[in-house]
């Protein structure tokens, strides 16, 4: 089993990247498949944010489907964004995995007051890799290494 498909190894490898303070693989149903990090509170925040983002993505996808069924709107992008109880969030990249795994998958970054979160859909479209980095200065490095981790 390669690094990209073994959740525990993926989490370990992600944690080895400097600046990554926590990593988790989360299923589309919000279930945490594997996780490691500094503090239960941070891991809980990652799971909560991922669950909210996935729920928002599903709702948004349904909305787009309804619009398309009515003959309006372009062909469907399904974008996900997260909310974390009032934290300052800002989406950088978009179009996360959907429950159906449709569409291209891209990294999404939520800039927050502490520990920005990175969401990377994994191959197959049924899981997300969620990373918390120490500061915004670590996002570029984490994103760079994510590409290699996804490639396995």
């Amino acid at each position: 089993m390669g690094a990209a498909t073994d959740p525990s190894r993926l989490v370990d490898d992600a944690r080895a990247v400097r600046g990554v303070v926590a990593a988790a693989v989360v299923g589309v149903d919000g279930e945490v498949v594997a996780a490691a990090g500094e503090g239960a509170a941070l891991l809980e925040r990652m799971q909560r944010t991922a669950t909210n983002a996935l729920a928002a993505a599903e709702a948004f996808a349904s909305l787009l489907d309804a619009v398309e069924d009515d003959g309006f709107g372009p062909e469907g992008g399904r974008e996900a964004d997260g909310d974390d109880g009032g934290a300052v969030g800002e989406e950088e990249g978009a179009r996360a995995a959907t429950p159906s795994g449709q569409g291209a998958t891209h990294l999404t970054v939520l800039y927050q007051d502490v520990n920005p979160l990175l969401f990377e859909p994994l191959p197959g479209g049924d899981r997300l890799l969620v990373l918390a980095v120490e500061s915004a200065a670590d996002i570029g490095r984490a994103r760079f290494h994510l590409k290699r981790l996804r490639a396995g």
Binding site: R15, A16, R18, G140, R141, F144, R148
Partner: protein, 148 residues
């Protein structure tokens, strides 16, 4: 196998191929350029990926730009690559792959590694530009071989 020093106790989990750690590649390039203040690699979207020196306990860090300053420099270089990708590149017949900016107290040399990545040397006044250019070319080759 190679265990990066920054991983500490977690080093055994890194599973990085020997001598492909980004920090080490930058550190080697930095050591080969006299008068070099900093070497960095960044994305063409303006996000800094890695820099050397970067560790707080590294004495060489004193000569390097502040993190916030470097972020601005990287963003400006990204913009310059974008600007140079227009008429200048069309006139040349190929994309501009290297940018040099010199001042009284030093300068910058940025070299495109891939369409998505570039490396950046920040030098003092004593740096030999020919050497910086040669090392930037070598670094770009090394980075593209190791990571692309």
């Amino acid at each position: 196998m190679y265990e990066p020093l920054h991983l500490g106790a977690a080093g055994h989990r890194a599973r990085l191929p020997a001598m492909t750690d980004l920090e080490d590649i930058l550190a080697r390039a930095w050591s080969r350029v006299g008068g070099c203040r900093l070497v960095a690699v960044a994305g063409m979207d303006g996000l800094l990926i890695e820099r050397h020196p970067s560790k707080e306990d590294d004495p060489a860090l004193a000569g390097a730009p502040e993190p916030a300053t470097l972020e601005h420099v990287v963003a400006e270089v990204t913009t310059l690559f974008g600007v140079a990708g227009g008429t200048m590149s069309r006139e040349l017949g190929s994309p501009v792959s290297e940018l040099v900016a010199l001042g009284e107290t030093g300068g910058y040399l940025a070299r495109r590694v891939t369409p998505d990545l570039f490396c950046l040397f920040v030098t003092g006044a004593s740096a030999d530009l020919a050497n910086v250019r040669a090392e930037a070319e070598e670094l770009a080759r090394e980075l593209s071989g190791a990571f692309v």
